[in-house]
C-alpha cells in the first residue's frame, strides 16, 4: 500500500462534522490529519488508524460541540421531572377518577396480555422447521365436502416421480394403539408413528444421539424421545439397544431426539421406520392400492419451486390416475396441499391428529380483547375530558408564561403514561394470579415463565404504550386547546362537541356490552337446547368398556355373559358404534329394486340383540334381533328412520322386508326392524342413515353396560376384575357414555364460558366508566340541584333529571346491538344441524339488565347530591 492510499478512516470525520462547531472544523480536521501522518511515520497503518479513532472520541467535548438543540433538552429533562410530579399529584388529587381509570386500564391490559399470550402461541405452531416454507401436507378431499388427512397409497409416489418441483416426500402412519410396550411388568401406551427415512431431512427435530440420515432406514428401527429414554433405560448411550413391543417385536434404538416442541402439530413419543410398516403389512405397495386411504404424506418442494403450480397440477392426481374407477363409484377425489404453518389452524379433516387450534376462536377472543381495551380507553377519555375544566386555569397560567401547545400536550400525555405504567404493574400481578384460571378456560397450559419471554414483553409494552397514547391523546388535545383569556375569566363553556363525543363513546360502550351480553345469552340458550334436547337414546347410566385392544375376540362372549351376571347390570351389548363414536360412516348402500342413482351414504354399525335395550332406542316398526331366529341374525338389518326416507321407502312399515345391497356387503340384507331416529352425533350434525347388522362378534369394539346402581365405584371395580380374569395382560379402559358424548359440546362450552366471563368484565368496565362520569356531572351541577331544591324539586325528580339522559344513551347502545346480534346469531346457529331459534326474550332481558345497571350507577351518585341540603350546595363557593 502506498503512502497516498493510507488515508485516515472517513467515518470518524463524518461524525466530527456532525458534532463539532463548523468554525472549528477546518483547523481540527487539519490537525487530526497531520497527527495521523506523524503517527504513520512512527508506527504501522493500523496503529495510526486506531489512534485516529481514539482521538476523534476525545474530541467530543462540550466546548467544541455545536450549539445544537440537545443543549436545550436539559430543560426538557427538567420539565419532564416537573410534569411527572404534577401528573402524580393530579392522580392523587382526584382519587376516585384515578382509581376508575387505573382499574379500567389494568383490566384492559390484563385481558390484552393474556390474549396476546394465547394468540401469539396459537400462531407460533410449526414455525421451528427450517425448511418450513417449503413443506406442505398432502391431503385428500372429495366432491361431497369430505376432507381427509390421509391419502391413497400411490399419491406420494406419483408426486415424487412425476413432479419436478418435489424434492422428497414423507410417508407416515400412526401405529395402532395395541402396539404396547412391556417394561418391568407394566404396559405402556405411547404415541407412535411409522415415518419414512426422509423425516429428519424435512423436519427440524434435533437428534441428541444417532445419525439423522440413517436412523429410520432399516426395518425395526425406533427413534425415541429423551423422556422415553429415561423411562426405559438407565444408561446414557442407548443406540443399538433393544426394545420389545407386543412381547414379540424386537426394535433397535437408532436415535434419541429432544422432546417434541409443544408447538408442533406432530406429536409423538417414538418413531418407527416406515420400513417396519412395510414388513408388518406385506401387502403395502407404493404404486398400487388407490383404495387405501391411510397414509399421511408431507412433501418438501425444491428451493424456488412454484408451489401453486405444483398444487394446481396435483389436484387432479386421482382423476388422472383412476378417474374411471372413481366415476364408477360416483365420487371424485382431489389432492390438496396445506402449507406447514397453516396446518395447525387448518384441521377440519375428520381424521386429523395432534393438537389443533381454531381460527374462529382466535378471532372471537381477539375481537373481545380489542373491545375490552377500547372500552378501558374510552373510560379514560370520558373522565379526562369531563374534568378538563378543572385544569383550565393551570393551562391558562402555563400558556401566559409562554408554554407551547406541544409542551402542554406532552404534559397531559405524560399523565396517561404514568397511569398506564401503574396499570401495567397491576396487570402483571393480575395476569400472574389469573393464569391458572385462564389455562382452564382456554384448555391450554401456559407457564408463568411465558410472561418473561422477550417477545411477549415487547408486545405487552407496545400494547401499554398504545393504550396510553390512545386514551391520553384526545384529552390532551382538548385541554391544551383552552384559550387563556377565557379560562382565566372563568367563562369557559364546555364545548358541545366534546359532550357529543362523550355521548357517542358511552353509546359505543353500551353497544359492546349489550352485544356481548346478547351473544352470551344466545350461546347459552343453544348449549342448553343441546343439553335438554331429547337425543332419542338414554346416555345416562351406561358404562363403556373399550375392548379394541383385547387380543382375544373369542373371549368377548364369555366376558359379556360374566358381566350380565352382576346384580347391578341390566344389560350388556357388544358393538362397534356408540353415540359420539360413530361406526363406519360413508358406506354405500342401495335399495335392491332401484340400483342406479339412489346411493345412500350410510353409517354401518355392528350390534347384537341387546343394543336397542341397552341404549334405550325405540323400535317403531318390525322387530329386533333374537337369538332364536337364526336366519335373521344372518341376513337381517335394523335401520333408522332417516335411512328409510333416503331409500325412498314410504313408511317404516313399508320398509320391513325390503332388501339393501352394498358393494362392500356392509350393510347388506333384509330390513327386519326400524328404530326411531336418534342423535348419534352431537346436535351440530345431521342424523346419518344407519344400518345395523348382527355382527358384533366380528367387529365389536365396545361393551356398553347399562347399570342400575349409584355406586359406580364398586361397579367399575367389579367390571375390571372380570376383565382382568378374562383378558390377561390387557389394559382395562372404560368411560361413561354421558361424559364421552358431552365431549362433543366442549367447543361450545368453552365459547360460552369465555363469553360469559368477558361480557361480565366488559359490563364492569362500562359500569365504572359511567359511574365516574356521573359523579363528575353531579358535582358540577351541585349548584343547580341546590336551586331546584329551594324551588321545591323532590329528590326523585332530580334523580330522574340526571338519569334520563344516560339511560337514553344506554338504550341507544342496545338498539344498535340488537339487529347485529340477530343477524350474526342466526348465522352462528346455522352451523348446527339442530338448533334453537333466537329467543326474542333475550332482547328485552338485555335492555333491562343494562338499563338497570346504568340506573343504579346513576342513582348512587345523584341521590347523594340530591339529598344535600340546598344551603350547603349553594354555599360551596
Amino acid at each position: 500500500m502506498s503512502k497516498e492510499q493510507m488515508t485516515p478512516p472517513q467515518w470518524p470525520i463524518k461524525i466530527l462534522r456532525l458534532l463539532l462547531k463548523a468554525d472549528y472544523l477546518e483547523e481540527i480536521e487539519g490537525d487530526m490529519e497531520e497527527v495521523f501522518q506523524d503517527n504513520l511515520e512512527s508506527g504501522t497503518y493500523n496503529r495510526a488508524k486506531r489512534l485516529f479513532v481514539l482521538d476523534t472520541l476525545k474530541l467530543v467535548r462540550p466546548n467544541l460541540l455545536r450549539n445544537s438543540k440537545w443543549i436545550y433538552r436539559l430543560n426538557f429533562i427538567a420539565m419532564t421531572i416537573n410534569n411527572l410530579k404534577i401528573a402524580f399529584r393530579t392522580l392523587l388529587k382526584y382519587k376516585t377518577h384515578s382509581a376508575i381509570n387505573l382499574v379500567g386500564l389494568a383490566i384492559g391490559l390484563t385481558i390484552g396480555g393474556l390474549i396476546i399470550l394465547y394468540v401469539s402461541d396459537e400462531l407460533s405452531f410449526d414455525k421451528f422447521h427450517e425448511k418450513g416454507n417449503r413443506i406442505f401436507k398432502v391431503t385428500t378431499f372429495n366432491d361431497q365436502g369430505g376432507k381427509m388427512e390421509t391419502n391413497a397409497w400411490p399419491v406420494a409416489h406419483k408426486l415424487k416421480t412425476e413432479f419436478p418441483e418435489v424434492e422428497s416426500v414423507i410417508y407416515s402412519r400412526t401405529a395402532h394403539r395395541s402396539l404396547k410396550l412391556s417394561h418391568k411388568d407394566k404396559e405402556y401406551d405411547h404415541k407412535i408413528h411409522y415415518v419414512s427415512k426422509e423425516f429428519f431431512n424435512i423436519f427440524s427435530f434435533e437428534l441428541t444421539q444417532g445419525n439423522p440420515k440413517t436412523a429410520l432406514l432399516d426395518p425395526y428401527s425406533v427413534v425415541i424421545t429423551e423422556s422415553i429414554k429415561q423411562i426405559y433405560f438407565d444408561e446414557e448411550n442407548v443406540i443399538g439397544k433393544t426394545m420389545v413391543f407386543r412381547d414379540s417385536l424386537n426394535f433397535k434404538v437408532t436415535g434419541v431426539i429432544k422432546e417434541v416442541p409443544r408447538t408442533s402439530h406432530i406429536q409423538f413419543d417414538m418413531l418407527f421406520s416406515f420400513a417396519t410398516y412395510e414388513k408388518l403389512t406385506d401387502w403395502f405397495s407404493y404404486t398400487e392400492g388407490w383404495g387405501n386411504f391411510n397414509v399421511r404424506n408431507y412433501v418438501l418442494l425444491k428451493e424456488g419451486a412454484d408451489a401453486q403450480a405444483a398444487e394446481a397440477r396435483a389436484v387432479d392426481l386421482y382423476v388422472e390416475s383412476v378417474g374411471e374407477w372413481l366415476e364408477e363409484m360416483g365420487i371424485l377425489m382431489y389432492v390438496d396441499f396445506i402449507p406447514m404453518e397453516e396446518i395447525y389452524l387448518n384441521s377440519e379433516t375428520w381424521n386429523s391428529f395432534g393438537p389443533s387450534g381454531s381460527e374462529d376462536q382466535i378471532k372471537t377472543v381477539s375481537l373481545i380483547g380489542i373491545f375490552a381495551i377500547i372500552l378501558a380507553c374510552i373510560n379514560y377519555i370520558n373522565l379526562s375530558t369531563a374534568r378538563a375544566s378543572y385544569r383550565a386555569k393551570e393551562v391558562a397560567i402555563k400558556k401566559v408564561n409562554g408554554s407551547s401547545r406541544m409542551a402542554l400536550i406532552t404534559q397531559f400525555l405524560m399523565e396517561s403514561y404514568l397511569l398506564t405504567f401503574f396499570a401495567f404493574i397491576i396487570a402483571f400481578v393480575l395476569m400472574y394470579m389469573l393464569l391458572p384460571f385462564f389455562n382452564d378456560l382456554m384448555g391450554r397450559s401456559y407457564l408463568i415463565s411465558s410472561f418473561a419471554a422477550p417477545k411477549f414483553l415487547l408486545s405487552i409494552i407496545l400494547l401499554g404504550v398504545s393504550i396510553a397514547f390512545l386514551s391520553g391523546y384526545y384529552p390532551a388535545l382538548v385541554i391544551s386547546a383552552f384559550k387563556p383569556l377565557q379560562a382565566m375569566r372563568g367563562t369557559l363553556n364546555m364545548n358541545p362537541k366534546g359532550l357529543g363525543l362523550r355521548k357517542t363513546l358511552i353509546i359505543f360502550q353500551f353497544f359492546v356490552s349489550a352485544g356481548l351480553l346478547l351473544a352470551t345469552f344466545l350461546v347459552l340458550s343453544q348449549l342448553n337446547f343441546m343439553r335438554e334436547q331429547d337425543l332419542g337414546f338414554d346416555k345416562e347410566q351406561i358404562l363403556v368398556v373399550n375392548a379394541s385392544n383385547s387380543k382375544n375376540p373369542a373371549s368377548h362372549g364369555t366376558y359379556r355373559t360374566e358381566l350380565e351376571r352382576l346384580t347391578n347390570v341390566q344389560s350388556v351389548s357388544l358393538t362397534n358404534a356408540l353415540p359420539g363414536r360413530p361406526g363406519w360412516q360413508g358406506q354405500w348402500a342401495y335399495p335392491e329394486e332401484v340400483l342406479d342413482d339412489n346411493r345412500v351414504d350410510t353409517e354401518y354399525m355392528a350390534i347384537d340383540e341387546n343394543y336397542l335395550k341397552t341404549l334405550g332406542l325405540q323400535l317403531i316398526a318390525g322387530r329386533n334381533f333374537e337369538r332364536e331366529r337364526t336366519s335373521e341374525l344372518e341376513d337381517g338389518l335394523v335401520v333408522n328412520e332417516t335411512l328409510v326416507r333416503e331409500m325412498g321407502w314410504l313408511s317404516p312399515e313399508d320398509a320391513i322386508g325390503k332388501k339393501i345391497v352394498s358393494p362392500s356387503q356392509r350393510p347388506a340384507g333384509t330390513v327386519i326392524g326400524v328404530v326411531k331416529d336418534y342423535h348419534g352425533l352431537g346436535l351440530q350434525d345431521a342424523i346419518w342413515s344407519k344400518a345395523m347388522d348382527y355382527a358384533s362378534d366380528q367387529y365389536g369394539r365396545y361393551f356398553a353396560v347399562r347399570f342400575t346402581t349409584g355406586d359406580t365405584y364398586t361397579l367399575v371395580k367389579e367390571v375390571e376384575e372380570i376383565w382382568n380374569s378374562t383378558f390377561e395382560n390387557v389394559g382395562f379402559e372404560y368411560f361413561f357414555l354421558d361424559d364421552d358424548f358431552d365431549r362433543q359440546y366442549r367447543e361450545e362450552d368453552r365459547l360460552a364460558s369465555v363469553l360469559t366471563l368477558f361480557a361480565f368484565i366488559i359490563l364492569i368496565i362500562s359500569g365504572i366508566g359511567l359511574f365516574g362520569l356521573i359523579s363528575f356531572v353531579a358535582l358540577s351541577k351541585t349548584k343547580e340541584v341546590g336551586i331546584r331544591k329551594t324551588l321545591g324539586a323532590s329528590v326523585s325528580s332530580i334523580v330522574y333529571l340526571f338519569s334520563k339522559e344516560f339511560i337514553f344513551l344506554v338504550v341507544v347502545g342496545n338498539i344498535i346491538a340488537i339487529p347485529l346480534v340477530w343477524h350474526f346469531g342466526n348465522r352462528w346457529l346455522e352451523n348446527f344441524a339442530y338448533h334453537t331459534e333466537v329467543q326474542l326474550l333475550i332482547f328485552p332481558a338485555t335492555v333491562i339488565l343494562t338499563v338497570l345497571i346504568a340506573f343504579l350507577t346513576v342513582c348512587i351518585q345523584t341521590i347523594k347530591t340530591a339529598k344535600l341540603n340546598p344551603v350547603e350546595a349553594l354555599r360551596y363557593e
Binding site: 472549528y24 477546518e26 483547523e27 481540527i28 480536521e29 487539519g30 490537525d31 487530526m32 490529519e33 497531520e34 497527527v35 501522518q37 506523524d38 481514539l54 482521538d55 476525545k58 474530541l59 467530543v60 467535548r61 466546548n63 467544541l64
Partner: protein, 112 residues
C-alpha cells in the same frame, strides 16, 4: 485572578503558545507539550484548552498557511494577548511569593 481563572493545563498550553511564537498551531503545540510533559496528549484536549482560553481572552488566532500533510486544510496560528502575559506574570509572582517562604530540605523532598 478571580474572573480569569487559568487552569494548570491551560497555563502549560499558553506557555507553549508563547514559546512557539509564529509556529503556534494545534499540532506543534501538542508536540511541544508532549516532549515537555513526557506523555501522549489528544488533539481534543489541546483544542479544548485553546478554545476555552480564546473565549476568556488569553489568546487570539488567525488562519495560517496550509501544507500537503494537512490534506489542504489551513492551520490556525495562536498568539497570546497582553492580558495573558499579565495573568501569567501574576501567577508567577504568587508562586514566587510562596517559594520565598519555603525551604525544602532534602528530607521534605523525599516525602514529596
Amino acid at each position: 485572578m478571580k474572573k480569569t481563572k487559568l487552569g494548570e493545563f491551560e497555563e502549560m498550553v499558553l506557555l507553549a503558545v508563547i514559546v512557539l511564537k509564529d509556529d503556534a498551531y494545534g499540532v506543534e503545540i501538542k508536540k511541544e507539550l508532549e516532549s515537555r510533559l513526557k506523555e501522549r496528549l489528544s488533539v481534543g484536549s489541546i483544542q479544548s484548552a485553546l478554545k476555552r482560553m480564546e473565549e476568556k481572552g488569553f489568546l487570539n488566532s488567525e488562519f495560517g498557511e496550509t501544507t500537503k500533510k494537512r490534506g489542504g486544510k489551513r492551520k490556525r496560528i495562536y498568539t497570546s494577548t497582553p492580558h495573558a502575559h499579565k495573568v501569567l506574570k501574576e501567577i508567577k509572582e504568587i508562586r514566587e511569593g510562596f517559594w520565598s517562604n519555603i525551604q525544602l530540605t532534602p528530607v521534605d523532598l523525599k516525602t514529596i
